[in-house]
């Protein structure tokens, strides 16, 4: 059963986003996403400085089973990436909400409101399945 922290927002493509105190937004993939992918072995992250639009391809998660694109849940500039994932990609499986992928400086923070809250994400059909 997926556990979903209440302070996160979710894209229907299974990324989570968290607004930080400094105005940046941290992005990762949901517990449901890691469970569907299985053992994660490689993560391709965007370059720092890259400007992404909401829904734009931001990187790739490769599990033993398959490769899956990850998308920017909101638009913004990439200001940090989690380098530690290169050496321990499996942490995405063990701690999906602690294993962030990248941080964005949002171009329009109100885009967060278009994302699902925890309860709405949980009730989407493929998360319940």
């Amino acid at each position: 059963m997926s556990t979903i922290p209440a302070d996160l927002r979710f894209a229907t493509s299974h990324e989570w986003a968290r607004l930080e105190a400094d105005g940046s937004v941290t992005v990762g993939i949901s517990d449901h996403a890691q469970e569907a992918l299985g053992d994660v072995v490689f993560i391709e992250l965007p370059e720092v400085g890259k400007v992404l639009a909401a829904g734009q391809e931001a990187g790739v998660v490769e599990s033993v089973k398959a490769a899956s694109d990850i998308y920017a849940p909101i638009g913004g500039e990439v200001i940090a990436i989690n380098e530690a994932l290169a050496d321990s990609p499996e942490s995405v499986n063990s701690d999906p909400y602690g294993s962030w992928f990248f941080k964005l400086q949002p171009s329009d923070v109100s885009e967060l409101d278009k994302l699902l809250d925890a309860a709405a994400y949980k009730s989407t059909a493929d998360v319940e399945a």
Binding site: G38, D39, V41, F42, E44, V60, E62, V64, K65, A67, A86, E90, N93
Partner: protein, 365 residues
């Protein structure tokens, strides 16, 4: 809903994530396929392979029939229980399927064999085998009444021997690699698809649930198809439908060693075309690839050998044992020591190696 083995309910109870495999609902993993992979390399684990098709071949011309049907020669099976791996070819020398054949001769039934073929190809295999059997005094008997469990890993034989009757334990200790013999209503073979020592046990379907429970209860965990695929890939074993099919010659699928050319008089299906290809010189071959950088090789990625030409990955994945991506790829026969693979529009350098990466827990590359 797909086809189910007799163990379907137990897989669910053990927490399996189920997937479709050739029309069968089979366990992909029971939590972590990487952990299951390591478990088999380091200790042992059990796979439900009851979906595979078992066909008994008997009759006064069973040997002659199989010598016609298969590219390998069952004449090589000189002691009871001995087995061999063979392709079953069409007239164009494409691979209809691959199989393991056991000599199951007894004094009462001296001409009898057991074939194990793939699940996804069952219907076409049986149709082809029946069609080819019309000229021979032979009987084909599909054994849908049997379940099959594969216990694989360095501790497999020792651990299974502790859980079965004395007679079966004795047989497990005596079996040579690639030999299988009956004991009561079980058929126990020392074979597998992982590159480790181990057993494949065929037993009446109604006994399989209790036996799998015994195995799991004794600390032999269940292993899913996910780990089965990475284990066989590390071992450099072909997967039918991926690494070869009816469009591919065994000579281009690392199966030359399974073609018995002698005696020249043996007229097996596909022989004429294979001889023509052999004379012309093979144009393509199956090699191993190792990606030294981070990333994962996948089936159908394009392989480029500088100055030689292009090929394609037929099976690729992350190797849990080696900690890097490996693949089987069909490339021009002239190949080189290095090549490049295109992953999402970028070219990555790979090493070209013999298509066998790990055996008995050890890296070969």
């Amino acid at each position: 809903m797909g086809l189910r083995t007799p163990l379907y309910g137990l897989h669910l109870a053990l927490g399996a994530k189920m997937v479709d495999f050739g029309g069968w609902d089979m366990p992909l993993h029971y939590g972590s396929q990487v952990e299951e992979h390591h478990q088999v390399r380091r200790d042992c684990g059990v796979f439900d392979v009851s979906h595979m098709t078992v066909v008994d071949v008997s009759g006064s011309q069973a040997k002659a029939y199989l010598q016609h049907l298969l590219a390998n020669d069952v004449e090589r099976l000189d002691i009871p229980g001995k087995a061999l791996y063979s392709g079953m070819l069409n007239q164009q020398a494409g691979v209809i399927d691959d199989s393991i054949v056991y000599l199951t001769a007894t004094p009462e039934l001296p001409d009898s064999y057991r074939l194990v073929v793939n699940a996804a190809t069952r219907d076409k295999d049986l149709a082809w085998m029946r069609q080819q059997s019309s000229a021979f005094a032979v009987e084909l008997n599909e054994r849908a009444d049997l379940a099959m469990l594969a216990v694989q890993g360095p501790q497999a034989r020792a651990k299974v021997a502790e859980l079965v009757t004395q007679a079966r334990a004795a047989l497990i200790h005596e079996l040579q690699p690639l030999q299988g013999l009956p004991e009561g209503d079980w058929f126990i073979a020392r074979s597998g698809y992982t590159g480790e020592d181990g057993l494949e046990i065929m037993l009446p379907a109604e006994q399989s649930l209790a036996f799998l429970n015994d195995l799991v209860g004794a600390g032999i965990p269940p292993i899913g198809l996910g780990a089965r695929d990475t284990l066989r890939l590390e071992a450099g074993m072909n997967l039918y439908g991926q690494d070869m099919d009816e469009q591919v010659s065994p000579l281009a699928a690392n199966m030359s060693w399974t073609v018995a050319w002698e005696p020249a008089s043996r007229d097996f299906i596909g022989r004429a075309e294979l001889e023509r290809q052999q004379k012309a010189g093979a144009s393509a071959k199956l090699v191993g690839l190792v990606l030294e950088e981070r990333g994962v090789l996948r089936a159908h990625q394009v392989v480029r050998v500088a100055g030689v030409g292009e090929g394609e990955i037929t099976s690729g994945s992350f190797s849990p044992t080696l900690g890097k991506a490996i693949a089987l790829a069909r490339v021009p026969a002239a190949t080189a020591e290095r090549a490049e693979v295109e992953i999402r529009g970028k070219w990555y350098p790979v090493r070209v190696v013999q298509p066998s990466f790990v055996r008995h827990g050890r890296a070969l590359i």
